[in-house]
């Protein structure tokens, strides 16, 4: 338990978010961290150290995933917060919103298999440089579930070069033995990319759901590694 931490979390609730309570529970009950909900109409993020955009189907995924949520009143505050070095984590639909908002590079497309995929996947930790993965081992494999229909990450070749050069690719879909193969790619994502961070490393987007595996009772506790990294508990 990292009960002594001073890091204060905020979980944004958009109309159609559905992983907000799981995220709150993982942080509050799993990690003993102070956490509050932030309604999407709020325009201030004072007092928070880390703001999380949770999974779900904000605005019914109308038009494109994240396309409408990206203009929610709170997003201006999120952009200013990120610009000032605040920690912003987008999980699944939250990642999609950060892409639409231009806080992270690239875009999400429909899964190559056209299906909604809900299962545990293996993720290879590509970078431990940053607040979200510093408690992890580079090259280690985490088992964390995904649940999405639009997780097929895309960016143009120049952007991909830049992501590689700046060590911004944080997670890639892999086999349990840390091999990056097409078979290990659940959605057709470019270069098996499952998570990317901003050049300044304070904004992270990831498709897998760490909040769904914070307790061994749920099948895996690998998601804890994200929170432990953030809380500096290790």
């Amino acid at each position: 338990m990292a009960a002594a931490t001073k890091m204060r979390f905020g979980v944004i609730v958009f109309p159609g978010s559905n992983c907000d309570t799981d995220t709150w529970h993982a942080l509050h009950d799993g990690m003993g961290a102070p956490v509050d909900y932030i309604w999407h109409e709020q325009r201030e993020l004072q007092g928070f150290d880390c703001v999380i955009l949770p999974g779900g189907f904000s605005y019914g995924d109308y038009l494109r995933t994240g396309a409408v949520a990206r203009f929610s009143p709170v997003m201006e505050a999120v952009t200013a917060f990120a610009d000032n070095g605040g920690l912003v984590l987008g999980i699944c639909n939250g990642f999609q919103i950060l892409l639409e908002a231009g806080l992270l590079p690239g875009a999400m497309m429909r899964n190559v298999g056209q299906k909604f995929v809900c299962k545990y996947v293996n993720l290879r930790v590509e970078s431990t440089d940053g607040p979200y993965t510093r408690a992890m081992q580079k090259g280690s494999v985490l088992s964390i579930p995904i649940a999405h229909g639009e997780g097929n990450y895309y960016c143009d070749p120049d952007t991909l070069d830049e992501l590689r050069r700046n060590d911004q690719i944080v997670f890639r879909y892999s086999t349990p033995h840390a091999e990056i193969t097409p078979e290990a790619n659940p959605n057709g994502a470019l270069d098996n990319i499952a998570g990317v961070c901003s050049p300044s490393r304070n904004v992270l987007g990831m498709m897998p759901h760490p909040e769904r595996c914070t307790d061994p009772m749920l099948g895996s506790a690998d998601g804890r590694m994200v929170w432990e990294s953030l809380l500096g508990a290790r």
């Binding site: 396309a67 203009f71 875009a107 497309m109 429909r110 190559v112 056209q114 097929n152």
Partner: protein, 77 residues
């Protein structure tokens, strides 16, 4: 009021998995000679004045994602 019609498709350089699946389904139904099938979105709206530039701007800001999509705007007075 003018009528604006917006067609949005995935950019040519991007693989359209949905389009490929539907194209294959047409082949299976016996429709040979169908190629380059691409699926997109169609949006129509009534707008004050026939200002194509303004609708283009709406496309860049919200209606399309220029990273993966192309758009075409037609205005009917």
């Amino acid at each position: 009021m003018a009528k604006a019609r917006v067609t949005i498709t995935l950019r040519k350089t991007i693989m359209d998995a949905q389009g490929q699946t539907v194209e294959k389904a047409l082949h299976n139904l016996g429709y040979a000679g169908v190629t380059n099938l691409r699926i997109g979105k169609y949006i129509e709206m009534a707008v004050d004045g026939a200002d194509k530039g303004r609708v283009d701007e709406m496309c860049r800001k919200l209606l399309a994602n220029p990273i993966i999509e192309d758009f075409q705007v037609e205005i009917e007075e």
